[in-house]
Symmetry: C2
Subunit: 247 residues, 2 copies
DNA sequence: CGACGCCTTGAAGGCGCTCAATCAACGTGG
DNA sequence: CCACGTTGATTGAGCGCCTTCAAGGCGTCG
């Protein structure tokens, strides 16, 4: 897969179009956005807390994560972003970053200047709404993570997490059958779930021996979707995915 | 304090003005917003998950909370909202609610029709940005709660929570000295922190006996701000409060 | 005064953490 | 080709934070 600037804008268009149809002017405006593509190694910072960026990023390939550290150095991953996501769209209106963003595995990201995005929003109010909506869906996912981490035990949390990931990756057609590529270490997963890597490992083994998943070498296969959903207490409402068009 | 419709709009204006100055047209447009005021008893739902509201609410007096339940009935409070906040601004662009909102104690809230907000946004792009920004700050607070719940122990979590609350209430001038009114039960607090009410009680006692706070009967006084900040590992960056003007 | 809500306290147990060692897979350089 | 270092997955033992389950205290209000 070649991830160049035009691929970046087409990813964005595809995502926005899953919500409402874009006019040809709107599409053209998006296609004309200048995007600078960069390749990243694993665990590499893209932006850092305290920065005052003048651009937003779009994930093109691989995964990125939003994270924060406690003063004693413990890391919490606050969000995982998949191709098509814009992890720091917020920086358009919040001057100083309250988070850091890093690559999980090797990945490609595109950068778009704030100026360009602001100009496009001025001229196309519906795109403003669409971008705003993107940040609202992000917030909704943050909320669900609070519930997940705050109220469920580790087994359930991981199940829930995997359910979410499957659905989000399905939305960008990155799932074959019920399996997807997940180049992420157990330690990284643990940071996202809010447990230690040791315990993450034991939970994974439990999920495997219960026949819910098969996970090896950067790949995850959901073997029993129904039970995983149940164990994870998962309801996709909060993802605000467009229902498959019935009309 | 009388909380009528004009009080509601003046609260909103005050909050937006803490970020950037509003023109007189913008202020007038906000003042002209029709607001319907309602009085609520404690623990009363305002909107419920799955709803498709046609209006947003503004907190006028007291506290409201955003919450979600697990399937086995455990409640996680995802956010606390203070006067001036708009807990469900998101519903402007996300049709179906992924959360429930309820009063914590007795409180007053105002309701504003989506139509009115949309119209005002069309005519005043800077207000669009301001409202968008509000939702982004909410998201930032959600993120910090994930870190708090995911990585810190109960003692530290509660300290952090109290620090946040103090700063947010100071921003709306609801703090005298270092004390504020907090009509909330330990069980409700526990739901916000992600621990049980039993343990919440013990943590409170520890904070008291350590001389950090004094909490009785719906009131909290911060006795040692410096140490509370330290124990809570608190950095207000994520609140995106406007710095006190130095110019 | 009794009922109710909330705070408080005790005891026991479990989930997840810490610390540490081992194993497996892989890339590198000699 | 193999020794070696590195990185990530795995396993074990012990412990501690927090939960669960109860019961009791205390203030408020009908």
């Amino acid at each position: 897969m070649v991830a160049d600037a035009s691929y970046a804008t087409s990813l964005m268009i595809q995502k926005l179009e899953s919500i409402f149809s874009l006019s040809s002017e709107e599409k053209q405006a998006l296609q004309d956005l200048p995007v600078q593509v960069e390749v990243l190694k694993p665990e590499q910072d893209i932006v850092r807390i305290g920065d005052q960026p003048s651009q937003c990023c779009v994930v093109l390939e691989g995964f990125t994560c939003v994270y924060k550290l406690t003063s004693d150095g413990k890391r919490q991953i606050l969000a995982l972003h998949v191709p098509g996501d814009m992890p720091d769209l917020q920086s358009l209106h919040l001057q100083v970053l309250d988070i850091s963003i890093a690559s999980i595995s090797s990945c490609k990201v595109g950068f778009i200047q704030h100026d360009c995005l602001r100009r496009i929003c001025e001229r196309h109010p519906r795109l403003t709404a669409a971008f705003w909506r993107e940040t609202l869906v992000d917030a909704s996912i943050y909320r669900d993570w609070i519930l997940n981490i705050g109220q469920r035990d580790a087994y359930s949390r991981v199940a829930h997490f995997l359910c979410e990931l499957l659905m989000r990756l399905q939305a960008v057609r990155a799932v074959k059958g019920k399996a997807f590529h997940l180049p992420i270490t157990q330690a990284q997963l643990a940071d996202a779930i809010g447990i230690t890597s040791v315990h993450m490992n034991r939970v994974f083994q439990a999920l495997r021996s219960d026949g819910l998943i098969d996970a090896t070498r950067g790949k995850v296969a959901i073997l029993d979707w129904e039970r995983l959903r149940e164990e994870g207490d998962f309801d996709p409402l909060y993802l605000h995915l467009r229902k498959p068009r019935s009309a």
